[in-house]
């Protein structure tokens, strides 16, 4: 069966996005997967051998945690297994406020027609025109966003 690997784990599969592994159950497939790519194991499982809490595994469109047999669920060659880490967050417990409130972050550059600028003001100034906004400049130049 095909197993789809998320981008953070591809360094451990030789860069492969999809690997093909045989096995009768989800568990058997996992054992073969981690035997073929040993470095994957610590990223998928705790030292006690449990699937890490932030690692979701889908058998086709079903989360294996909610399947009756979970990791002992039988699989077929044409099934697909997708490994997908969770994504969440939010402002609760925020870090300290940043200094300044610039439109572009420090180090950001704006690339226009081959020239790089560190701020909108710098770019508009370099254009030698009294544009008050990027939209106004683009509009004047007949550019379509």
């Amino acid at each position: 069966m095909n197993i789809h690997i998320p981008t953070p784990l591809r360094p451990y599969t030789g860069g492969l996005e999809t690997v093909s592994i045989s096995g009768a159950t989800v568990n058997a497939v996992f054992q073969q997967l981690t035997a073929s790519y040993p470095e994957l194991k610590q990223h998928l499982f705790t030292p006690e051998g449990k699937l890490r809490s932030f690692v979701n595994v889908y058998l086709n469109d079903d989360d294996i945690r909610y399947l009756d047999a979970q990791q002992e669920t039988a699989v077929k060659d044409n099934d697909e297994l997708t490994i997908i880490p969770s994504i969440a967050g939010g402002t609760s417990c925020s870090s300290p406020a940043p200094d300044g409130a610039t439109r572009f972050p420090p180090g950001a550059t704006l690339s226009v027609q081959g020239a790089a600028y560190t701020s909108l003001r710098q770019m508009l100034s370099a254009k030698g025109a009294a544009y008050t906004s990027l939209r106004q400049m683009l509009s004047a130049k007949g550019a379509a966003l």
């Binding site: 789809h4 998320p6 981008t7 953070p8 591809r10 360094p11 860069g15 996005e17 610590q42 990223h43 932030f54 690692v55 979701n56 889908y58 469109d61 989360d63 997708t82 997908i84 880490p85 969770s86 994504i87 969440a88 967050g89 939010g90 402002t91 609760s92 417990c93 925020s94 870090s95 300290p96 406020a97 940043p98 409130a101 610039t102 439109r103 572009f104 972050p105 420090p106 180090g107 950001a108 550059t109 704006l110 690339s111 226009v112 027609q113 081959g114 790089a116 683009l138 550019a143 966003l145």
Partner: protein, 167 residues
């Protein structure tokens, strides 16, 4: 470095304004140009952004979560487009565009870019990007990441082509 078209950059900021006072979230599809997620020289080049639903309806003003099922579908779509998931974006309503402890604790996509836009009183203000570096959960860290915003796709291609020619 993160590289993104101006239209996508504006679209993700607009998404934060639309969902205000709640957090928005979405996925960045593209390619890691150097092919090495943690290489200093690697660039997450965004080719497309995909909006996602925030499942944290219980606390949507200060938390976000993308349903794994939706992520699976987005990853499937990305595969069809020949793209990868290279990062995520979300907004901080009336909060700075800095990662929070919650953002860090729940960040697991090593090598990916996490864009945060502060939305103050309904207006998108600051947009920052943070690269999640590290090799595992115990050594991961967020680093400030430079953003290159391309005004026109053709321009970006020209620049890239010129640089290649000079190499």
């Amino acid at each position: 470095m993160l590289r993104i078209d101006y239209a996508d950059y504006e679209a993700l900021r607009a998404h934060g304004e639309e969902t205000y006072p709640n957090e928005c979230c979405g996925v960045l599809l593209g390619r890691n140009v150097a092919g090495e997620g943690n290489s200093a020289a690697a660039t997450n080049h965004v080719r497309q952004i995909m909006r996602a639903g925030n499942t944290r309806t219980d606390s949507a003003h200060n938390r976000y979560n993308i349903a794994p099922q939706e992520l699976v579908k987005i990853q499937r779509q990305a595969r069809g487009l020949g793209l990868d998931i290279v990062g995520f974006y979300h907004s901080h309503p009336d909060h700075p565009a800095q990662w929070s402890k919650t953002d860090f604790a729940e960040a697991h996509w090593l090598g990916c870019s996490y864009i945060i836009t502060s939305v103050e009183q309904g207006k998108a203000v600051t947009t920052n990007s943070f690269l999640l570096r590290g090799t595992a959960e115990d050594d991961k860290k967020f680093e400030d990441e430079a953003i290159q915003i391309d005004i026109a796709h053709t321009t970006a291609e020209t620049v890239a082509s010129n640089q290649k020619g000079h190499a």
